[in-house]
Symmetry: C2
Subunit: 319 residues, 2 copies
């Protein structure tokens, strides 16, 4: 069986592009770009909590890094460096090799140097920390939404949750829908190009990891504003995919794991957001508006502008 | 039971000193000091692997951050910021509060802003990422040892391993020795002042986390040099503490978890190292010399300069 150090050398040490000293010392050494701000985020993925124990290793590797790229996308930051700490129950080399393939595929896609980490024995757990850069003052925060701003969402949220629901036997998706949903679940595409394009355009942003309503709620709380969403404007993919319309709505409004972005922008920026959508080839849908009501309050309105009852809470690990 | 977000707000959000945006967004925002290099390190601590399941929560909190401070000390870097990702089997508030006390006590001791993290459910696991700063080109690397350099060790290694051996019933320490060893095990003191003082003085450095011989071996491997250690010069605390001399030697040579520094320095710097020891009030012992033998080869010599057989390997999580 390979040693801890052989595992690191064999699977987790690859050439870097913009790093002074990578894997192999007590710490890594990098030179930040002068006059840029540093954006840092960390996410921990636990087997059985964040991915099914029998999930494809390459997909778990991709996702471990992708969810961190998504955090930087939501801040409008360019990811540059990442560290990977891994607890593994044993040194299953085939599994580790596939995991590393997925992890480094994501790193290469987004131009990230993997510069260090830690490998230890324990119940399977991957903790990734990512570092990126943003010009001073241009980071997209949760706290910048203002009354009157429009609320936008990228892509078609709810697919990852529908894919999971299918795997858990809670619904039965058609072949094409299933393939689309399982891809969204296993290999999420962080909206980095969108996040970078929203610098100077969006007033606030967040990625949808806990659910559309819950994550929009974080913007409302941080910005101390309220919001009204237009029910009929929501991307309708989840409903089209799933015969169980109540489940579809639940996945759309409260399903996490899609890693789409929800953001706000002034009404005057509407045309520029539409142009950005076109240039990225990515659906950006205006789904509502920020208001100056009770901070954090979120109403869902039907076609006649009457409130719809919706009790969708986001994911809470200790609820 | 408190939610994930209440836990973070209640126990893991404290004012920062040198951070633009801390806990509460998709990422944290910091402004690196102009023209400094950034040193980054991450360590994962798993219950049952790195600490006993019934270990004192405050001590686990202290140690989770302290082992990362030690990595930066070994690089000669000033720690500035840290992130904490935690997997917890349940939301035991008393335990979490004590853990947070220990963690923030360490952060305060070393001037570190805690700027973000992640909280999730799972088998207990703490992953800390730390980053700090060092003037360009002044980081202490493992690769800088040169033939003729003297080899030094700080403090009295082996105490943490002796403390663990006592707890596991493998030896019986006297009262004073036990107290000293348990403190070393539970509340290691990273040698940050030493690491900073060694800038421009040491040619190579590493912290002793896997064992004295194993970690010195990492320097030899990276520097492509050999070394001779003088057995009778090794700090003798472990032997004085423990009647079982074979166990004491094992703890001294192969015990991890002390977080002392092993470093090399040119012979011409001997007096300056001695002066540094005095100014820090910390024992620094010259235990041997680097040579140009087979890269990685390490011999232990007795009083007559005859090799002593020693088969001490460091800790390997998958061995």
């Amino acid at each position: 069986m390979p040693s801890e150090f052989e595992l690191i050398a064999r699977y987790f040490t690859r050439p870097t592009q913009h790093t002074r000293l990578g894997v192999g010392d007590d710490g890594a050494l990098v030179s930040p770009t002068p006059a840029m701000e540093l954006v840092v985020s960390t996410d921990m993925l636990v087997a059985g909590t964040h991915f099914l124990p029998d999930a494809d290793a390459e997909a778990v590797g991709w996702k471990s890094l992708a969810v961190n790229v998504s955090d930087l996308a939501a801040m409008g930051a360019q990811p540059r460096w990442a560290l990977l700490a891994a607890a593994l129950p044993d040194a299953d080399e085939l599994w580790i090799a596939a995991f590393a393939e997925g992890f480094f595929a994501c790193a290469q896609t987004f131009g990230i140097d993997v510069i260090g980490g830690d490998t230890t024995r324990g119940p399977m757990n991957f903790c990734v920390t990512i570092f990126g850069e943003v010009p001073p003052g241009q980071a997209l925060l949760r706290s910048g939404a203002r009354p009157g701003d429009e609320i936008w969402v990228s892509g078609t949220p709810g697919r990852a949750a529908l894919g999971l629901a299918h795997l858990q036997g809670r619904c039965q998706l058609g072949e094409a829908a299933l393939a689309d949903c399982l891809t969204a679940l296993a290999r999420p595409q962080p909206r980095l190009a969108l996040g970078l394009g929203l610098r100077g355009l969006a007033s606030a942003a967040i990625d949808v990891s806990d659910g559309l309503l819950a994550d929009l709620g974080h913007i409302l709380g941080s910005s101390k504003v309220s919001a009204a969403l237009q029910f009929e404007r929501l991307p309708d993919t989840a409903w089209r995919y799933c015969p169980d319309q109540a489940l579809a709505q639940d996945c759309l409004l409260a399903g996490g794991d899609d890693y789409e972005l929800v953001f706000t922008a002034p009404v005057g920026a509407h045309a520029r957001v539409a142009t950005l959508a076109q240039s990225l080839g990515l659906a950006l849908t205006c789904i509502g508006q920020i208001a100056d009501g009770a901070p954090g309050k979120l109403v869902l309105l039907d076609r006649e502008q009457k409130p719809i009852a919706a009790h969708h809470h986001g994911f809470d690990h200790f609820a």
